[in-house]
C-alpha cells in the first residue's frame, strides 16, 4: 500500500508547498494534455493527421456525450466537463505506468473535483431556476401523503452525490492498483520456496489480466465520472421529474 503514499521529492518535510510525487505526476498529466491538444490541433489541416485525429476524436466524444445528456443548453459548460474528463483519463492512464503514482487514487483529489461539480451544479440550478430548483425534490408523480418522506429521501440522496461521485473514482483506482500489487507480491515466491514454481507463473498471468482490466476500468471510470457530471448538470438546468 505504500504506492499510495505522498512523498516529498526533494527531502524536506511534507507541507502544503512541498513538491511531492503527487505534484510531479499531476504536472506530467497536465503536460501530456497540453502536448496532445496544443500540438495536435496546431496544424488545423482539413484531413487530420494522427495526433489531430486523436484530439478531434476526444473532443467529439465528450461533445456528443454532453449534448446527448445535458441537452443543447448544457453545451455552454462543455469546457469544464471536457477538462474533467481529459484530466481524469490522463491521470488514470499515467498511473498505470509501473512505478508511477495515480493522483486520482487519492480521495483528496477526487473529492475536490466532486465537490466542485456539486457546488457548480447547485449554484447553477439556483441561478437558472430560482426557487423552482427545489422542484427537483418534490416528486409530483407520487401520492400527496408520500411526498414529504420522498422529499427527505431525495434531499439526502442529493447530498450523498458528491460523496459517491468521489469515492467511486478513488476507490476504483486504489482497488485496481492494490490488487496488482498483491499479485505482484506473490511473484518472487519462486526464489523463496518450492511452491513458487507453480505460483509465480500464475501470478504473472494474473498481473497481466488485471492490467488489461485496469486499462478498461481507467477509461470507464473517467467516462462514468463525466457522464454523471452531465446528468447532474441536466438536473440543474431542467429540474423536476
Amino acid at each position: 500500500m505504500d504506492q499510495f503514499l505522498v512523498k516529498p521529492l526533494f527531502g524536506e518535510g511534507l507541507s502544503a508547498f512541498a513538491v511531492s510525487n503527487a505534484t510531479l505526476w499531476m504536472a506530467i498529466t497536465v503536460l501530456c494534455v497540453i502536448v496532445l491538444f496544443v500540438l495536435g490541433t496546431g496544424k488545423r489541416s482539413v484531413i487530420p493527421g494522427r495526433l489531430q485525429s486523436v484530439a478531434e476524436l476526444a473532443y467529439g466524444f465528450v461533445y456528443k456525450m454532453v449534448e446527448d445528456v445535458a441537452g443543447h443548453d448544457g453545451v455552454k459548460y462543455f469546457p469544464y466537463i471536457f477538462t474533467l474528463f481529459i484530466f481524469i483519463v490522463f491521470s488514470n492512464f499515467l498511473g498505470l505506468i509501473p512505478g508511477s503514482f495515480t493522483t486520482t487514487s487519492h480521495i483528496a483529489v477526487t473529492a475536490v473535483m466532486a465537490v466542485m461539480v456539486f457546488l457548480f451544479v447547485t449554484i447553477l440550478g439556483f441561478v437558472k431556476n430560482g426557487a423552482h430548483f427545489l422542484g427537483l425534490f418534490w416528486v409530483s408523480s407520487a401520492p400527496l401523503a408520500l411526498r414529504p418522506i420522498l422529499a427527505l429521501i431525495e434531499l439526502i440522496s442529493y447530498f450523498v452525490r458528491p460523496v459517491s461521485h468521489s469515492i467511486r473514482l478513488a476507490g476504483n483506482m486504489m482497488a485496481g492498483h492494490a490488487v496488482i500489487k498483491v499479485f505482484a507480491a506473490f511473484a518472487p515466491l519462486i526464489l523463496m520456496s518450492g511452491i513458487g514454481v507453480v505460483v509465480t507463473p500464475l501470478s504473472i498471468v494474473a498481473i497481466t489480466a488485471m492490467y488489461g482490466l485496469e486499462i478498461l476500468v481507467c477509461f470507464i471510470q473517467a467516462y462514468v465520472f463525466t457522464i454523471l457530471t452531465c446528468v447532474y448538470l441536466k438536473d440543474a438546468l431542467h429540474p423536476g421529474h
Partner: protein, 78 residues
C-alpha cells in the same frame, strides 16, 4: 500469538466487509444481463442506451467499492 484484540477485530471486520462485494457483483451482472437481453431483442435501439448501461453499471459497482473501502480502512487505518 501476538497483537491485541482490537487488531483481531479489525481484520475479522475487513474479511466480513468483503462479503458486500458479492452483492455488488450480482447487481452489476443483473444490469449488464438485462441490457444484453434487451439489446438482442432490439439491436438498433441498443446503441442509444449504452450511456444508460454504463451509468447503471457505475452505480451498482460503486457500492461494492464502498465495501472494499471499508475493508481497506479496517485493515490499514484500524
Amino acid at each position: 500469538m501476538q497483537g491485541d484484540i482490537v487488531q483481531m477485530g479489525a481484520y475479522i471486520g475487513a474479511g466480513l466487509a468483503c462479503m458486500g462485494m458479492g452483492g455488488s457483483a450480482i447487481g452489476v451482472g443483473n444490469v449488464a444481463g438485462n441490457f444484453l437481453a434487451g439489446a438482442l431483442r432490439n439491436p438498433s435501439a441498443a446503441a442509444g442506451q449504452t450511456a444508460t448501461l454504463f451509468i447503471g453499471i457505475a452505480f451498482a459497482e460503486a457500492l461494492g467499492i464502498f465495501s472494499f473501502l471499508v475493508a481497506l480502512l479496517l485493515m490499514f487505518a484500524v
